[in-house]
């Protein structure tokens, strides 16, 4: 079997991730931060170690500026719903995932103004377009760092500088880039950074988080309130991080796994991981581009994107290509719209969608070669059966 759906969930995970989760369940198991006994303290240490490893990875001074959520979607909902009020104006791009678009569209119905800045049909964004869209009531700019459909990188450094200059909050959706591409929150001038644990950070599903810059928490309402293990004498939510945004018992076993995944990224180095994925992407782009009948979407340049590639075969629906790849060649990928209708409208692939292949750290060049041969075979057979 060849797994090419790493953009949805990276798999397999480094061995240490399985061991950390098994070790936590068998030897610790308790609630973190809820009691003074040694298992509770040890569970707290596991969560804290994960926070610290992530802080190192993103160059965050204080690990307590990272709050844990169940995925990037929840983190983006905290950021977007927490900041925007009726009368505020928000700016985003036409390459976003629904984890950004749906919260924004819902707020638009409740009196938040929204500008969606158009990207090119390759998925690139002109930072000048963002600056032109800024108005006196602009409160927040939300951008994905790397597209989940074509992997294209958006100019977050330039937009961060623009946002800071205009006093507008800047939120990055790093679901596809955290762990796969260098991220430095102080250099990037980002106020809110949402990430997920189960993609290029090699953690399990159900883990993710949000970095909140010092002071920004004053204008970000929590999504949920509840027990935090702190200020138990008060019926009101604490105002300090991370407790303000972390109510209820967390996914400690998941965070144990995420910690091991981030350690894997730190020990290999983001640049080395990226180099490997860039090589695989180069082979895929070159190989697919040479097959008659195959249309590639996105940048067409492995250096300007993360390891996500979308294509179509003339005359065959994306769903049928994916089905044949699995049934005839045991290759797993993802067809359709990948939860990003606006990105497909930008690329000109709505509503049919694309076939998305996403290699990962554990994908080999040999496997890429098999995939290219399989796609060549399917394309050479011409018309599909109309699925």
């Amino acid at each position: 079997m060849i797994y090419l759906d790493n953009a949805a969930t990276s798999w397999p995970k480094p061995e240490a991730v399985y061991q950390a989760m098994d070790g936590f369940m068998c030897q610790v198991g308790a609630s973190p931060g809820r009691s003074g006994h040694r298992l509770s303290i040890e569970a707290g240490r596991v969560v804290y170690e994960t926070r610290e490893s992530l802080a190192r990875l993103f160059n965050i001074d204080d690990p307590l500026r990272i709050i844990f959520t169940s995925n990037a979607t929840e983190a983006l909902n905290v950021a977007i719903n927490g900041v925007l009020r009726p009368g505020d104006h928000a700016i985003t791009s036409s390459m976003e995932h629904n984890s950004v678009m749906r919260p924004l569209r819902a707020l638009q119905e409740r009196g938040v103004e929204l500008t969606v800045v158009s990207c090119s049909k390759e998925g690139f964004l002109d930072p000048g377009g963002i600056e032109k869209a800024i108005k006196p009531n602009t409160r927040l700019i939300v951008l994905n760092h790397a597209s989940n459909v074509v992997g294209t990188l958006l100019p977050v450094i330039e937009v961060g500088a623009i946002a800071r200059r205009h006093g507008v909050l800047f939120c990055i959706d790093a679901a596809q880039s955290a762990g796969a591409y260098p991220l430095d929150v102080s250099f990037m001038k980002v106020d809110l950074l949402a990430f997920t644990g189960h993609k290029s950070l090699y953690g399990p599903q159900g883990t993710g988080g949000l970095y909140i810059r010092q002071g920004v928490e004053d204008v970000v309402e929590p999504l949920m309130r509840g027990g935090t293990g702190s200020r138990s004498d008060s019926e009101h939510q604490p105002d300090f991080l991370p407790d303000k945004y972390e109510s209820g018992t967390p996914n400690t076993v998941g965070l144990a796994g995420l910690g091991a995944g981030v350690q894997f990224v730190l020990s290999r180095g983001v640049n080395a991981l990226r180099e490997k994925e860039e090589k695989l992407m180069y082979l895929l782009i070159e190989g697919l581009g040479a097959i008659p009948g195959v249309t590639l979407y996105g940048s067409g340049d492995a250096r300007e994107q993360v390891a996500v590639l979308s294509f179509n075969i003339a005359g065959i629906a994306s769903s049928e290509v994916a089905m044949r790849l699995e049934e005839e060649y045991d290759i797993l990928c993802r067809p359709g719209l990948q939860c990003a209708p606006i990105a497909h409208k930008t690329l000109g692939t709505f509503p049919g969608g694309t076939v998305r292949v996403s290699p990962g750290y554990f994908t080999t060049e040999y496997e890429v070669d098999i995939v290219l041969r399989a796609i060549r075979n399917i394309a050479s057979m011409g018309k599909g059966i109309g699925l």
């Binding site: 931060g33 003074g36 707290g44 804290y48 610290e52 293990g229 702190s230 200020r231 604490p238 407790d243």
Partner: protein, 68 residues
Amino acid sequence: MVLFHSISGALRAEKLLKAEGVPLKMIPVPRHLSSDCGICIRFERADELKVEGILGRSKLEIQGIHQI
């Protein structure tokens, strides 16, 4: 002993102090000292200045240092 607003704060302090070689123990907060979180760090009186210095440099907010 030193009290913190949150368990995450106490755990961060534990790592910082251990890295500087301060002998310490994480213990449940005594009931007569009201605390924001359930655990605190007990250390030797002789290390008080050192502890204050390390935590001050980290800009980690504490609820207070108490003698027991």
